[in-house]
Symmetry: C2
Subunit: 422 residues, 2 copies
């Protein structure tokens, strides 16, 4: 059943530029309906918005105008109350939104509550509780292993095929798309240097990732099983896990990345609900190692938990890579099960990143570290040769997923420009 039931009489025959005049094939058509937080022109007040084409619906105002009980969940400066409401509410609200956009009398009622996307300010859509970053692309992990441990017989560490490796990041520095990223300073030390030196990072990199946003919390001491993924996860965003490779290389033994990552993580302004991605669900790649039961998604009654997302990475408007999310070895459902198997609880607003998405082909790698092979093979861009990012460079991640009837479900872009260290 398509999520958007077009009634008779062609209610979409509206003038061009009208919020309902979404061109056919638009990646933010009525089959998508991602959520964000915006403030209208001339206002500081933040509230929940739903994107339709190139407009934003003030969802709380629309709900209020229609007398919908959802108004109370939507009239907030973050998505957190909606995230906390749980799967039944998420799906119900989505059906309600679809009706609002479809039933002619509802359409008339909500029409005044659209704003042109270009006229609003988009904000960080949710208050981030804990942020975890995974390392789930086998291609990425193999590339990193080959680059940093060239003498090792296996580029993967012995644990890699047994568990989805992850670590906690800094949730206080998660920023919304469009936020400038100041080049981080820190210590670095090349193997030949007698002592570390201090200064702005000279190997500032990107990591193209998909982020998963937790809605329903869980109790401390109770693991969340593979089959509970959709009960807890509300939706997805795009995520750029900016990385200072030189800082990271010097600091990360033995306790992992810290300052090389913690200066900024950018997320898209739009959170696409899982319900919009049903057509994009795919089986994960075949696993080469037997999995322990809590990670084993080969049973017939388990949702495979993979998603077909086509990502594009652009530097200064020039596409440098197209990483395919289908290649990820570990799924988001496995990551959730692993993250909680020790009894760690989930909170509303928890965010976890997939890890850098890299496909098997050179043009599918999700970091400059891999694309330039640690700087050995510079990229020849219209804006000049690049090994790592220069001040002023703007990085933009976009993505889409297959939608119903051959449509595309667009993910919100995540973009950020590198500002020089003052």
């Amino acid at each position: 059943m398509p999520p958007f039931d077009v009634p008779e009489g062609d209610p979409f025959a509206v003038p061009e530029g009208h919020p309902f005049a979404v061109p056919e094939g638009h990646p933010f058509g009525p089959h998508n309906l991602p959520y964000g937080v915006f403030s209208a022109a001339g206002s500081d007040a933040r509230t929940v918005g739903v994107r339709l084409g190139d407009h934003v619906l003030d969802a709380a105002a629309a709900a209020h105008a229609l007398g919908s009980p959802y108004a109370a969940l939507l009239a907030h400066p973050t998505l957190n109350p909606l995230l906390a409401a749980g799967r039944t509410a998420w799906s119900d609200l989505r059906r309600a939104l679809t009706a609002w956009l479809t039933v002619p009398s509802h359409r008339e009622t909500i029409a005044p509550h659209f704003h042109p996307l270009s006229a609003v300010t988009l904000h960080l859509p949710f208050e981030v509780a804990d942020y975890v970053d995974f390392y789930a692309s086998e291609n990425h992990a193999r590339n990193v292993g080959r680059i940093f441990r060239p003498d090792s017989p296996d580029p993967l560490t012995p644990n890699w095929k047994h568990l989805p490796i992850g670590y906690h990041g800094r949730s206080g520095t998660v920023v919304v798309s469009g936020t400038e990223v100041v080049r981080p300073s820190g210590q670095r030390k090349a193997p030949a240097d007698p002592a570390p030196v201090f200064g702005p990072s000279v190997r500032l990199d990107i990591e193209a990732e998909v982020g998963f946003v937790v809605g329903t919390p869980s109790e401390q001491g109770r693991p969340v099983g593979l089959g509970e993924f959709r009960d807890h996860v509300f939706g997805i965003c795009l995520l750029n896990d900016w990385s200072a490779r030189d800082l990271q290389a010097w600091e990360y033994v033995p306790l992992g990345p810290f300052l090389g990552k913690s200066f900024a993580t950018s997320v898209s302004a739009w959170i696409t609900p899982l319900d919009a991605l049903d057509e994009a669900r795919v089986a994960p790649p075949e696993r080469t190692h037997a999995l322990l039961p809590y990670l084993d998604d080969s049973a017939p009654d388990v949702d495979p938990g993979g998603y077909d997302l086509r990502i594009s990475v652009a530097v200064n408007g020039h596409v440098v890579s197209e990483p395919p999310f289908t290649t990820m070895y570990w799924t988001a459902a496995q990551q959730l099960a692993h993250m909680t198997v020790n009894g760690a609880s989930l909170r509303t607003g928890d965010l976890y990143g997939s890890g850098t998405v890299s496909g098997g082909a050179p043009g599918e790698r999700g970091s400059l570290l891999e694309l330039t092979w640690n700087g050995r093979d510079p990229l020849d861009l219209p804006s000049g040769k690049r090994t790592f990012l220069e001040d002023g460079d703007e990085v933009t991640l976009t993505a889409w997923a297959p939608g119903p009837g051959g449509t595309r479900v667009g993910l919100g872009e995540v973009t950020g420009r590198v500002a020089p260290r003052e």
Copy 2:
């Protein structure tokens, strides 16, 4: 000047058991005044409390009764509004509290707002923003290096003397003293095992640490200097960073500890303000390596940032270790400067742990890993032999610092019992 100016006429000549009848030398005397969050008997409402002896002052009620403008900062279910108020407010409020406890008319007014400590429920005192754990004890790092990398010529990694190594932990599983800790399950693999096995941790450990609580936030992109420590950090707590050594050993390469730590971190219910610890300030140990300027605390105008805290670790009521905090190589001021030097911002409620505190003597080690040398040398306790923790074991950390005039400033205890995995 003592912080508690006793007026003439002996207003402390009060009946035994009265809140003001704090025995001389009590570690929670009027020179201490730590903050917490409590609910009174028969009530679910949480509010800020100040500990005096074995009583808790309902600080908001007292402020309200006295017409103090601080009532608005204190009538909250967490310390976060007070934390956000900044250094001037923190010091002013402390002076006001001292006056309330000293001036006879004020004493009379606030006397009804004390509750016996035994009759209240203590809660997590603040909403934790980001949680970072450091690794700042040289003795601990050397012991860990010797245990896990016995063939390495140097037990310290090459970066250890150049920067305070740290990583982000899970803030959502920080719990208050007294909370039961469920034994975590997870993957472990001994070197000789052909594949990892799954089950409850068999090497559940403690880490005796001191936690630092950030009040004043900072701006993303702007490092916080060594000299700004007291502007941003409100106070300290005790912290037990529970660790599943078997899970940690298998998972931690290459991205650091994750499930081995994220199931629970316990903090004391009382946050001791830095203002109560002026007499405990000490110079850090002499450094063996030159420090980069942002970490160099040898300049005469820099607050050395060390604290003399005497910690005690007890298992089932039996003291197993007395780690001295004076031995920490890196100070909390250096940790703050390092954590932000890349431009990472601070938020109100950020918590950072010192890392396991271990002195140079065997009886001063802050973890069972070290105390039993990874299980080789079991401890012979009244409750039986121990290598790591058994179900039902209760761990309690206590500590004190030198106070004015030979007094002791007690830190709130942090205790927790291990519950079996169901």
